[in-house]
């Protein structure tokens, strides 16, 4: 009897996990985009996201704050110092005892080291700096989260990904684990990997962060979106990066 019960329990557990995409079946949103959109991403001279990367490069060398320091003054050439950074963010910040995503880390530097005001979420400057830093990891695989401190946040992110929400009562998993590859209006549903953020979204006609995109998703199911920088938002980002471990960074990607 106990054996039968254990068998049933394991079957239920397996059924939940069966929805997860196997590592070999994972594909970037790039693969689901139309040919014209892919062509836009592939050409650095025609990719609108590169306008923000260029802006970020300028900001990198611009002195700011009471400390009159630029990013370059501490970090030198971003091509070497920032290589691999985006691939391992969000990362655990020991001092704050919570995970921070890349935008938050940049603002951390701004306030603590440059002694400047934090940049506003989705502002041109923050988007540009984040795009510039993330771009230095283009081509590199997203790192598996090995820091045990991140465990609870990853679990929170996973549960947020799998829970139904909003007036449409849909979970992220239902579209992006169970129905990827099928169409929703004019677009093909991708698997929801954050390989190219910050990215140029054709819908926005602008470059935006992963959190902005997640807010759009939550609006899509008529749920109240997370506030920018909320712990749940960062936990979800973190889970998505862990789910996409090994996939190469594409920043700045172009997506519909």
């Amino acid at each position: 009897m106990k054996l039968l019960l254990a068998g049933v329990v394991s079957l239920i557990a397996t059924a939940t996990c069966a929805a997860e995409i196997t590592p070999e079946a994972r594909r970037s949103g790039y693969d689901f985009a139309a040919a014209a959109t892919r062509a836009m991403q592939d050409d650095d001279t025609a990719n609108p996201g590169m306008l923000w990367v260029l802006q970020g490069e300028t900001l990198w060398g611009t002195k700011a704050g009471a400390a009159e320091q630029s990013c370059a003054d501490c970090h030198g050439d971003a091509r070497s110092s920032m290589k691999g950074v985006a691939a391992r963010y969000p990362a655990f910040d020991l001092a704050l005892a919570r995970p921070l995503d890349l935008e938050q880390r940049i603002n951390q530097c701004r306030t603590a080291h440059q002694r400047a005001e934090a940049l506003v979420w989705e502002s041109a400057d923050l988007s540009a700096l984040t795009a510039f830093v993330a771009h230095q990891s283009r081509g590199l695989p997203i790192a598996a989260r090995s820091d045990p401190e991140l465990g609870p946040a990853i679990d929170l992110g996973r549960s947020l990904f799998q829970r139904r929400e909003g007036q449409l009562n849909l979970s992220c998993s239902q579209c992006h684990d169970d129905n990827w590859g099928k169409r929703l209006a004019g677009n093909v549903i991708p698997q929801g990997h954050p390989t190219g953020f910050p990215l140029y979204r054709l819908e926005w006609q602008s470059l935006g962060s992963l959190q902005r995109r997640l807010r759009n998703c939550m609006n899509g199911v008529r749920a109240e979106p997370f506030e920018y920088g909320a712990p749940k938002a960062v936990a979800l980002e973190l889970f998505l990066m862990e789910r996409a471990r090994g996939m190469p960074i594409e920043t700045p990607a172009v997506r519909p």
Binding site: T45, A46, L51, L54, Q205
Partner: protein
């Protein structure tokens, strides 16, 4: 000064037809959108783009609100002699931005 991405082949053979690609950061505000209070956001678009090659106009574009934000224009020219390619964007209010790129023709 808005960010620009310009692609002019630095070198070309005399008589070769080359593609020039241009991208400029601009919201191309149509004038049809409404803000949060219901008031209309005023139109603000780049309405004219002119490209010259050693002073001679090789391409001109009149743009309307249907052109997407961060306007992208790719066109062709024949590489005739070395010199300068000059790009000028003009908005509704007559303000301009000019960029220059060299081209070497052998």
């Amino acid at each position: 000064m808005a960010r620009v991405l310009l692609n002019v082949p630095p070198r070309a053979q005399r008589g070769e037809i080359v593609e020039i690609k241009t991208l400029i950061a601009h919201p191309m505000e149509t004038g049809y959108r409404l803000d949060n209070t219901g008031g209309s956001i005023p139109r603000d678009i780049i309405s004219l783009f002119v490209c010259t090659y050693n002073g001679e106009e090789i391409f001109r574009a009149e743009l309307f609100p249907a052109i997407a934000a961060n306007p992208f224009l790719a066109f062709f020219t024949t590489a005739t002699e070395s010199g300068e390619i000059v790009f000028t964007w003009t908005n509704d209010h007559g303000q301009t931005q000019t960029e220059t790129r060299p081209i070497t023709v052998e």
